[in-house]
C-alpha cells in the first residue's frame, strides 16, 4: 500500500520542470507491480499528472518525448498564451479556451483521483511571475482547495531573476504568492538567481565559466524536489523489519513524504514558505555535511537566515552510516541554519538507501523554512508599490478583469506573512 499523489504542471516553466521530474520517477521494471512504484504512476505506467499551458509548444514537445506517460485527457492547452499577465491567466484563460475549461479540468482531476488507491494530495509546479503559471496556477489552487478541502496542496513556485525577466514580474508574483499563501498547505520557492549560483558552485573550477542552460536549471529544481518528495524506501531494501523500525527511513508511509515534509517544516499556517538545497558528493556523511555547511550556508549580506524548522533527507545511505555521524552533524547543521531557539526539534532526519534518478552517490537534501523569505517579499512589495503609484502597466490588468481590491488584498497578505516571519525571530 502506498499513498498516491497527483502532479499538476502549469505554464511553460511548470511543464519544463515536470519534463525533468519525469526522469526521476522510479520505473523499476521488476518492481512495477509493487505499490511503492505507484505513488506518481498508475498501474498502466501513465503518470498521475495533469498538464496545462496557455499555448501548445511546450506541451507538444513534452508529448513528443514522453508521450507514452501522459494521458491525452489530462492535457489542456490554450492557443494564444497568457502574455505574462496574471489577470489574463486568472480570468482570461477561460474566455480564450472556452467557458467549460475549469469544469473539464476538475473533471479530469476527479477521474485521476478516483484512479488512486489512496489520494492524499497534489503538487503544483509553476512559476510565480509568468502569465499561465501564476494566474492560472492561482485559479487552479483555489479551485482544488474548494473541491478537496482536506487533501494537501504543495505548491512549487519558481521566482524570476531579480535583475528582470519581465516588467510585470513583480505584480504577477505578488498576486500569485497571495493566492498560494491563502489556499495551499505549503510552498517550496526557488529563485532563479540562487539556482544558477548553486549550479555554478557544483562545477569544477575549469568549467565554472561555461554558460548555464535552462535545461540545467530545470534539472536542478526537479532533482531537489525529487529528493524531498519521492518515496524513501525502495523495495530492494535488505533491512530486516527490526532494523527498519530503528532507522527513520521507514517511519514515513510511502507516498506521504511530501505531506510529512509539510508537517515538519510548515507546521504553522502562517509560515508556509520553504526552500530546498542539496549537495552530492561521494564522501563520508560527516564531511558531506561539512561541505554543505561551507558551500550552501554562506549568508548574503544583510539577509536574515534564521530557520524555523528543517528537514534533512540523506539519500544514498547504503551502509546505514548516516546516524553514526548524527550528533556532530546535527550541531553543525543547527548552527549553519541558525535554527530558532524556541523549536525543540529544529531538524528532522530521513534516510534512503538510494539516491533519486540514476545517481549512485550520496546526496544530502535540506528543506528549510527560513526567514530569508522576508528579503524576497520586501523586494516584491517595494517594487510593486513604486510601480503601482506610477500606475504603470495597470491598464493591462483592468482590461482582463482585475480590480484595485485584488492588488490591495495581495499586498496585505504578503505584509502579514512578513510580519509573522519577523515575529518568529523573536
Amino acid at each position: 500500500m502506498a499513498a498516491n499523489n497527483i502532479i499538476i504542471q502549469i505554464g511553460q516553466c511548470g511543464n519544463q520542470i515536470g519534463r525533468e521530474f519525469c526522469n526521476f520517477i522510479p520505473t523499476d521494471a521488476e518492481n512495477s507491480k509493487l505499490p511503492i512504484s505507484h505513488v506518481y504512476q498508475h498501474y498502466d505506467n501513465k503518470s498521475r499528472c495533469l498538464c496545462v499551458d496557455g499555448e501548445s509548444k511546450v506541451i507538444s514537445n513534452l508529448l513528443n518525448n514522453h508521450g507514452k506517460s501522459y494521458r491525452k485527457q489530462n492535457v489542456f492547452t490554450g492557443r494564444t498564451g497568457c502574455g505574462a499577465n496574471w489577470a489574463l491567466g486568472y480570468h482570461g484563460f477561460e474566455n480564450a479556451v472556452g467557458q467549460s475549461f475549469m469544469d473539464n479540468f476538475l473533471d479530469s482531476l476527479r477521474k485521476e483521483v478516483e484512479r488512486c488507491d489512496s489520494y492524499t494530495g497534489c503538487i503544483l509546479l509553476h512559476s510565480i511571475s509568468g502569465g499561465t503559471g501564476s494566474g492560472l496556477g492561482s485559479r487552479i489552487c483555489e479551485a482544488i482547495r474548494e473541491e478537496y478541502p482536506i487533501n494537501y496542496i504543495l505548491s512549487t513556485g519558481v521566482a524570476p531573476h531579480r535583475s528582470g525577466e519581465s516588467p510585470l514580474q513583480c505584480y504577477n508574483s505578488m498576486l500569485s504568492l497571495s493566492y498560494i499563501q491563502k489556499y495551499s498547505d505549503g510552498v517550496i520557492l526557488y529563485e532563479n538567481d540562487d539556482v544558477i549560483n548553486r549550479i555554478i558552485s557544483f562545477r569544477s573550477k575549469s568549467e565554472a565559466s561555461k554558460s548555464v542552460s535552462l535545461k540545467e536549471m530545470n534539472n536542478y529544481i526537479a532533482k531537489s524536489l525529487a529528493g524531498i518528495i519521492l518515496p524513501l524506501s525502495s523495495s530492494n531494501s535488505s533491512l530486516t523489519s527490526l532494523m527498519k523500525q530503528f532507522y527513520a527511513c521507514s517511519c514515513v508511509f510511502p507516498g506521504k513524504e511530501p505531506w510529512e515534509m509539510l508537517q515538519t517544516t510548515c507546521s504553522m499556517p502562517t509560515h508556509k514558505f520553504t526552500g530546498v538545497q542539496y549537495l552530492s558528493k561521494g564522501v563520508a556523511w560527516d564531511s558531506l555535511v561539512r561541505s554543505y555547511v561551507q558551500n550552501n550556508c554562506r549568508p548574503k549580506s544583510g539577509t536574515i537566515l534564521d530557520s524555523i524548522s528543517c528537514l534533512a533527507v540523506a539519500r544514498g545511505d547504503k551502509d546505514y552510516s548516516f546516524f553514526k555521524f548524527m550528533p556532530r552533524s546535527h550541531e553543525n547543521l543547527k548552527t549553519a541554519h541558525r535554527c530558532v531557539s524556541w523549536n525543540p526539534f529544529p531538524i528532522d532526519y530521513w534516510t534512503a538507501e538510494t539516491d533519486v534518478g540514476k545517481g549512485s552517490g550520496r546526496t544530502l537534501y535540506i528543506c528549510s523554512n527560513s526567514c530569508g523569505i522576508i528579503d524576497y517579499f520586501d523586494h516584491i512589495l517595494s517594487k510593486t508599490s513604486t510601480m503601482y503609484d506610477a500606475k504603470a502597466f495597470l491598464h493591462w490588468y483592468w482590461k482582463y478583469g482585475c480590480c484595485m481590491e485584488d492588488f490591495s488584498e495581495a499586498r496585505e497578505i504578503l505584509q502579514t506573512v512578513v510580519m509573522n516571519y519577523k515575529d518568529a525571530l523573536k
Binding site: 505574462a84 535583475s163 525577466e165
Partner: protein, 414 residues
C-alpha cells in the same frame, strides 16, 4: 496577407516575381490612379487616401479582411506595414487600422511604419505623418517606427566591411546569405532592385519578432507578451528596434566575446532602425529577443554588464523582458532583436512636429487636403494636439524620474 495599393505598378511586379504563388488575386485591392502621386506635381495627399479611397473601398477592404481572418485557426494579431509620408500607406493604412479596431477589437494590431527622413522627396510628408500619427496613437497596439536613413546606413556598413582590407590583415569574409540585407527568397534573380536590401532589414525585423511564436524555444515570448510587457501606458506604445549581428563571418571562430559584442552592439546607435539616442534618455522597458545557441546565463550576464550604462525609469528599474528561441536565423549562429520603449522617441516626433508647423503656419498645400469630402481644418488641429500631448507625456515621465533621482542620499554611518 492582404495587399493594398491605390496604383497597380508595385503589386503587379510582385505578381510577376517568384513569390507570385504565395499570394492570391483575391487578397489584392488596387486602383489605377494612385493617391495623388502625380510625378509632375509631386504631391501626395493623405486625405485622398484616408477619406476618399478609405470610404470607397471600405466594403471591399472589410470583405477581403474577413476572408483572410476566417481562414485563420486562431487569429492573434494583425501586422500592418506602411510608410507615413506617402498617401496610400498613411491614409488608406490608417483607415484600415480604424476598420480593424472596430471589427476586431480584441486582436492585436502591430504597425511597422516608415517615418520620413529629413531629406524626404515628398513635400507634404509632414502633414501625412502627423495626421497618421494621431490614428496610430489612438488605434494601434504597438508601433515600430523606422526611417530610411538608418536603413541606408546599415546597408552601407555591411558593404564597407567586405570592401576594407588593411595591410597584413586579410579581408573579412562575410558568410554568404548571412547578412540581414540578403534576399533569401529570390532564387535566381541576381539583379537586385533598389530598396531591396533596406526592405530585407525590415523583413528580418518581423521575422525575429515572430520567431518565438513560430519556433520552439526554452523561453517563449508570444506577440501578446511583447505588447503587455513593453507598453506601460496605452498611448506610449512606440518601440525602437535594433538588430544584431548584421552578418556572420565566414571563419567559425565563435568565442564568448563575440556573443557579448552582440549585446553591446544592440545598444549602440549604429544598429537601430530609427535615428534616436536611447542611452541619453529614459528606458520605460526593454525586450531582448534572442535566437539561436545562447544560454540563459549569457543573457543574465550581459544584462548585468550593460545595465549600468542605461537609464531606466525609477519604477521599472529592472524592466527587461527576455525571450529565447532555439532556431537561429538563416546563416547566422545566433541573433538578438532589441525592442525598447524609450522616451528618446519624442525627439523624432518633435522633428516632424516642427516640419509640420513650418508648413501649417503658411497653410501651404492645405487646399489639396480640404478638397476631399470629410476632411476639415479641425482634423489637423486635433492631430497636432494629440502629438503635442504625447510629447508632453514623455517629458513628464522624465521629469518625475529626475525629481526622484536627484534627492541626495542620506549619509549612512556604520
Amino acid at each position: 496577407a492582404v495587399l493594398v495599393d491605390m496604383e497597380e505598378g508595385v503589386v503587379n511586379e510582385l505578381l510577376n516575381s517568384p513569390l507570385r504563388d504565395i499570394f492570391d488575386h483575391k487578397q489584392l485591392i488596387t486602383d489605377v490612379s494612385g493617391s495623388g502621386n502625380n510625378w509632375q506635381v509631386i504631391l501626395i495627399s493623405l486625405s485622398i487616401g484616408h477619406h476618399f479611397y478609405g470610404n470607397q473601398y471600405r466594403d471591399k477592404l472589410m470583405e477581403v479582411l474577413r476572408r483572410a481572418a476566417e481562414k485563420c485557426d486562431c487569429l492573434q494579431s494583425f501586422f500592418m506595414i506602411h510608410s507615413m509620408g506617402g498617401g496610400t500607406g498613411s491614409g488608406v493604412g490608417t483607415a484600415i487600422l480604424n476598420i480593424l479596431q472596430d471589427h476586431y477589437p480584441t486582436v492585436y494590431r502591430f504597425v511597422t511604419a516608415v517615418y520620413p527622413s529629413l531629406d524626404d522627396d515628398v513635400i507634404t510628408s509632414p502633414y501625412n505623418s502627423i495626421l497618421a500619427m494621431k490614428q496610430l496613437t489612438d488605434n494601434a497596439d504597438c508601433v515600430m517606427p523606422i526611417d530610411n536613413q538608418s536603413l541606408i546606413d546599415i546597408c552601407n556598413r555591411i558593404n564597407n566591411v567586405s570592401a576594407t582590407a588593411t595591410r597584413g590583415i586579410t579581408k573579412k569574409q562575410i558568410k554568404a546569405e548571412s547578412t540581414i540585407t540578403a534576399s533569401h527568397g529570390d532564387v535566381k534573380n541576381k539583379s537586385s532592385r533598389p530598396f531591396d536590401s533596406m526592405n530585407n532589414i525590415v523583413a528580418n525585423l518581423l521575422l525575429n519578432m515572430t520567431s518565438s511564436s513560430r519556433f520552439e524555444g526554452s523561453l517563449n515570448v508570444d506577440l501578446n507578451e511583447i505588447t503587455m510587457n513593453l507598453v506601460p501606458f496605452p498611448r506610449l506604445h512606440y518601440l525602437i528596434s535594433s538588430m544584431t549581428p548584421l552578418y556572420a563571418l565566414a571563419d567559425v571562430n565563435l568565442s564568448m566575446r563575440r556573443l557579448d559584442e552582440m549585446f553591446s552592439d544592440a545598444f549602440s546607435k549604429d544598429y537601430q532602425l530609427i535615428k534616436a539616442d536611447p542611452k541619453r534618455n529614459l528606458y520605460l522597458a526593454c525586450a531582448l529577443l534572442v535566437r539561436g545557441k545562447v544560454e540563459i546565463s549569457d543573457i543574465r550576464r550581459n544584462i548585468k554588464r550593460i545595465r549600468p550604462s542605461l537609464n531606466f525609469i525609477h519604477w521599472n528599474d529592472d524592466g527587461w523582458k527576455t525571450g529565447l528561441c532555439s532556431v537561429p536565423p538563416v546563416g547566422q549562429p545566433y541573433s538578438l532583436l532589441t525592442l525598447s520603449n524609450n522616451t528618446c522617441i519624442k525627439d523624432t516626433f518633435s522633428d516632424i512636429q516642427q516640419r509640420f508647423v513650418k508648413l501649417y503656419r503658411r497653410k501651404a498645400h492645405l487646399h489639396h487636403y480640404l478638397e476631399v469630402d470629410g476632411m476639415e481644418m479641425a482634423t489637423f488641429d486635433n492631430s497636432i494636439e494629440s502629438l503635442n500631448s504625447l510629447i508632453d507625456e514623455y517629458n513628464s515621465l522624465e521629469q518625475t524620474t529626475r525629481e526622484i533621482v536627484t534627492t541626495p542620499p542620506r549619509l549612512k554611518i556604520a
